[in-house]
Symmetry: none
Subunit: 412 residues, 2 copies
């Protein structure tokens, strides 16, 4: 089965946004063994969209559309597909109730144009939108399948992951199971990881190993094909062991795990509470933790000690420490981690102090970072980083290293 992804929206053709939806869906489909042969982007124009549909019908079995399901005049994906297929739109009562409910909750007036979001292609299977108003849908017609998804990634991704993939699985007739597993690594560069695993990568045919680097992390996608799911999984397990023997110390998680999620799980398992003193990261580390449901049982809170007077006044960092070593020092990181742990009465205290950049600070170059990790009844650990990115890359990388060191500590 071949797929084509058609992104609808003039903002794409005007260069206002990038087509991240096509990347996400393509990656998901690749995991499922579905070939994606073309991506098309077209504007909110009925004639051009119709043309794109005709072209896609000639070269794909599964047409996946993103965008154009909203309430405005420019939103015309459903209407155009209906016209193209000679079918109609019907009202989905559940979707309409859901839309009405949203406006009631936020105490806003529901303008009539919002109702059209509840229309679906006649005979299509609805894909629930748990993060927005417009439902998605899957229509099977004349030996082809048409999937319509919302444009905003925050709505499209969960819908596709939860309902879309499942619907596509039912369309597939293949007997060979494709089974993928992603191994996630941190603290090692892509080139080095590839070099260490070179022999293994070259000789692997099933499973295959596909490296991908981004945001300071490297992932290895292992893909096994076999009629039997159990055999495919065994093949993956065996390859994973071989890889871990070589680069296991940099491994931290699987698939879509983020460093924060893995760290959070470990903290929960051990029942530890955490408090944080953040200077250069400015709240980034705690914000990541707070984004995870259930964080309130783990995160006591913390102090954003951006300016030195706050480090002194609230976190009792010694005047002598700042004078003799400055805030960008091992000593400062140690005091911050210990003192925030004590102040907030948590099991673990973590601190981040350094120079994000651009430009140096207190004589230390941009990218100089100290992380402190204070735990009950243990000597405080400190970690030194020399980062080479821009201001925000350094802040993000620092927060990731915080999680990484926490994970390594909790995994011992």
């Amino acid at each position: 089965m071949n797929a084509e992804i058609i992104a609808v929206g003039s903002e794409l053709l005007l260069g206002q946004i990038v087509n991240s939806n096509a990347q996400f869906i393509s990656e998901q489909l690749a995991e499922m063994g579905v070939n994606v042969y073309y991506h098309t982007s077209v504007g909110d124009n009925p004639e051009r969209l119709q043309h794109a549909i005709s072209v896609a019908q000639e070269r794909a079995d599964l047409l996946i559309f993103t965008g154009g399901l909203g309430p405005t005049k420019d939103d015309l994906t459903k209407e155009t597909i209906a016209k193209s297929l000679g079918t109609t739109l019907t009202l989905d009562e559940d979707a309409l109730e859901s839309i009405k409910g949203y406006f009631k909750k936020v105490d806003r007036e529901m303008t009539p144009n919002n109702e059209k979001q509840a229309l679906i292609l006649a005979g299509s299977q609805v894909l629930k939108n748990e993060n927005g108003m417009a439902p998605g849908m899957l229509l099977k017609k004349d030996a082809k399948a048409y999937m319509l998804l919302p444009g905003p990634p925050s709505e499209m991704k969960p819908m596709f992951s939860t309902y879309g993939k499942q619907a596509i699985q039912h369309l597939l007739k293949k007997k060979e199971i494709i089974h993928s597993r992603v191994l996630r690594f941190f603290g090692i560069g892509e080139a080095q990881l590839e070099t260490e695993l070179e022999a293994l990568i070259d000789q692997q045919t099933n499973p295959t190993i596909a490296p991908l680097a981004g945001d300071g992390e490297v992932t290895l996608r292992l893909t096994a094909k076999h009629e039997s799911k159990d055999v495919a999984i065994t093949l993956l397990d065996e390859l994973e062991i071989e890889i871990m023997n070589i680069v296991g110390e940099y491994f931290y998680g699987y698939d879509q795990d983020s460093l924060g999620e893995v760290g959070f799980k470990l903290l929960k398992e051990k029942g530890f509470t955490l408090s944080c003193a953040e200077s250069l990261t400015g709240g980034l580390f705690q914000a990541q933790l707070a984004s995870l449901p259930g964080a309130s049982s783990i995160l006591k809170g913390g102090v954003i000690c951006y300016q030195d007077e706050v480090k002194k006044k609230i976190l009792s960092v010694k005047e002598s420490t700042l004078e003799q070593h400055t805030s960008v020092s091992e000593k400062c990181a140690k005091e911050l981690a210990e003192n925030v742990r004590e102040l907030l009465s948590s099991d673990i205290g973590i601190s981040f102090t350094g120079v994000a950049g651009p430009g140096s600070h207190e004589g230390q170059p941009a990218g100089t970072v100290w992380i402190g990790l204070s735990m009950k009844d243990q000597p405080t650990k400190t970690f030194h980083l020399n980062l080479g990115g821009g201001r925000n890359a350094n802040r993000i990388r620092t927060a990731k290293y915080g999680w990484y060191y926490l994970i390594k500590e909790l995994s011992e």
Copy 2:
């Protein structure tokens, strides 16, 4: 003149990378008044690339290709276009010298497959590659134009900016200047904004108004065309005034301004320092501020008072307040804002307390938020939100509202 952008590379169809080249080129072309009607991505496959070329020839005058100009077997853009047009490839001596020179410089052996990078479409104009080996090119044939650019953005962007745009300008016969301006709005939904401006949007032909919504914000792109730049700008000014008369209260900035950047500029202008008490946002608000260079003169710091005991212990929220009103209350937001301002000795204190979700807390539904704004010698202001998104959408939206209320306050 209509353009189509064709990105060549299997990594796109496998979802390994996002098509940022199409976004960049589209934005540049929009500025030049060239319509981009389609984007296509296709893999390193001669048959499918040929099909994509045929389709594009039927619907575009200017075909811009990115990718597939490299030395490997997978690089076949030139060869496929040559075959499609019934033309040949010739060796460009300058390009060959350039490639040889590169290998000499980095002291590496030049494998023979690198030579094919010096081949160009017969009769084409070369676009110099100052950041890599493969030259770009522009071929005019049968009333159409074919531009070939490298795939790596670091090579494509400079080539397009320096040589590509110029070459396209020569193709254009228009004397008209295109001038765009983006107006940014917050606190109003896309559907409502369109409803309020419906008459204006419908009757506008020059300038045109194009709405775009995302992440809780709505932007309006105003585009004016005129031979005279001054007249184009006057047309934009006049339309902007009309729009402001209708929905000006929700306006906060222009073009690429973010709420945080606008707020930060205002704080800087007035020389105010800021401290923050964040509960549900967990550090998100301060992290945004810390991402801006120069934040250290504005952001004193703050307290992440995620758990109630931290609200009490560090920010001295009264026990009675939490017992009688809970942390999700106007009273708590007020005390947090006032107390953090006092504790960190800043001009302004801002607080965020509420229920991010999922699920309710202390009897209050997910999305219930209170924001407190404490300023010297003024009664503390509080703001109540009823948000309807998921956990993280609510947190992000709350931080945005914080900036929004701060901006409105500082703009009075």
